[in-house]
């Protein structure tokens, strides 16, 4: 253990009892936070402190705490997952902050992601988009072919893999000035559209997923590129251009 100087911080945290009630920012002090701790560990310390004071702890989503589940959804100091690139909140460390800093901690803000409580938001709109087409139907009448028996160009396989690394965290929506879900949906459309197995249903898929995306109340894409910068998995705007092509050609050629 390296000797460290603990951080004393002022936290401004969004508190909201339930979806129906109005929320507000509350101010808390935490002291002697190790710079080596993760942001979520700092939140745990805050919550222990609140429990000791007889107050209700801050509700926030988290699960894997290693950057793969996409649950930890905090808007920290004006950025999704805080400062730093290519990371989720659980991968953010307190050494990114300085002693005496004030840190704003807010939930994802989007009409399509209503607040459940405090920092937790309901991201089931993403599930409904997936249910509309984010899959490959396996109609197993006969033997399923071994996937490795189908030749796929290496660069296509790589692009599909990159798109598939999207963890559905919603940072793209949270960062977008329009709360648009284009980066997420385009990653999901692309991971299938790039592969032969996904091409069979490509037209209906993109049309159905975009339809649900629009119905859920996400905004339109202004191509600001904020999503790509804030995405923990580096999902590229190439995917949005691909989805635009897929959608427009499906509109013309589809049933």
């Amino acid at each position: 253990m390296s000797a460290h100087k603990g951080l004393n911080l002022t936290l401004k945290v969004w508190r909201q009892q339930s979806q129906k009630e109005k929320g507000q920012m509350e101010t808390y002090q935490v002291s002697d936070i190790s710079p080596d701790s993760s942001f979520l560990e700092m939140m745990d310390i805050l919550n222990e402190q609140l429990i000791e004071e007889g107050k209700e702890p801050v509700a926030f989503d988290h699960d894997c705490r290693e950057g793969i589940c996409g649950m930890c959804s905090m808007y920290i100091n004006g950025e999704a997952h805080g400062p730093g690139r290519g990371i989720t909140t659980c991968q953010l460390h307190m050494r990114e902050f300085n002693n005496g800093d004030t840190i704003y901690i807010e939930p994802w803000r989007a009409k399509a992601f209503p607040v459940i409580k405090d920092l937790m938001v309901d991201r089931s709109a993403f599930d409904r988009i997936m249910a509309a087409g984010g899959f490959v139907s396996v109609n197993t009448s006969g033997n399923t072919q071994d996937a490795n028996a189908i030749p796929i160009e290496k660069h296509k396989a790589d692009q599909a893999f990159d798109a598939a690394t999207c963890i559905g965290c919603g940072a793209c929506v949270a960062s977008c000035k329009n709360a648009s879900a284009m980066l997420f949906v385009s990653a999901k459309v692309s991971q299938f559209a790039l592969l032969p197995q996904g091409q069979v249903e490509a037209k209906e898929r993109v049309q159905n997923m975009v339809k649900v995306m629009d119905e859920e109340g996400f905004g339109n894409c202004s191509n600001t590129g904020a999503c790509e910068v804030e995405c923990p998995k580096g999902i590229s705007l190439d995917n949005i251009a691909r989805m635009n092509r897929e959608y427009l050609s499906a509109s013309i050629k589809g049933e």
Partner: protein
């Protein structure tokens, strides 16, 4: 034809149409600039070109209606998208750092657009309405003044006497440059034209276009303001 309606009322379809209208507007800007710049060198060439554009049936009855539709669609859809996008986030962040992940230009297209719209209103009032009224209401297609010379150069230069008007022209073109610094490459993305080989070039070309064309219009305005008496 419900597929047409469905497509153009979807988020992607609207942005596609927005981009098409914008691409046409940028093409129009380029040709407008090419004609206007001749006024700096030769009143005669400018007059001849203006007369051609003002009386050629293809320009008047094919390109001009497309232009009007493109302009109106572009700014009406600009407002529609802005309203929908604002509505997609009902509660604002207490702290938001847009500058950390995107350019100011890209986040403020509606404001640069609004200044350009105010400019377009003045521009229509200055040139387009008098043109239409002379040509199609008074029925004078000659393009001539009482002394038998073409009127276009005189009419244009006269507008740039006014320092206020000239100042507003300059301001509007600065805002247009900002609009296009994001808009040019954005239009290509909206229609799905993105490729690792060509996109860097499109972005460079976009920056050149966004600065050179408005700067050229500003030069023309200032030139006539300073040289006409």
């Amino acid at each position: 034809m419900s597929w047409v309606k469905n497509t153009f009322s979807s988020s992607i379809g609207r942005k596609f149409a927005m981009a098409l209208s914008a691409l046409f507007l940028m093409f129009f800007l380029l040709q407008h600039f090419a004609i206007n710049i001749t006024s700096v060198f030769s009143a005669e060439v400018f007059n001849d070109l203006s007369h051609f554009m003002g009386t050629n049936p293809v320009v008047q009855f094919a390109l001009q209606p497309i232009l009007i539709i493109a302009v109106v669609y572009h700014f009406v859809m600009g407002f529609v998208l802005e309203a929908k996008n604002k509505g997609a986030r009902e509660v604002k962040y207490a702290m938001n750092k847009g500058q950390a992940n995107s350019t100011w230009f890209s986040r403020n297209m509606i404001y640069s657009g609004l200044v350009v719209l105010a400019f377009l209103a003045l521009h229509f009032y200055d040139f387009w309405i008098p043109e239409i009224s002379t040509k199609y209401i008074d029925g004078d297609m000659s393009g001539l003044m009482a002394n038998g010379d073409f009127r276009y150069y005189e009419e244009m230069v006269e507008k740039f006497h006014d320092p206020l008007r000239t100042g507003f022209y300059v301001l509007a073109f600065v805002l247009l440059a900002m609009h296009l610094l994001h808009g040019f490459q954005s239009a290509f993305q909206s229609i799905g034209a993105r490729h690792p080989k060509y996109t860097p070039g499109i972005k460079k070309l976009g920056n050149i276009f966004a600065i050179a064309i408005p700067a050229g219009f500003i030069f023309i305005a200032l030139f006539h303001h300073l040289t006409s008496h």
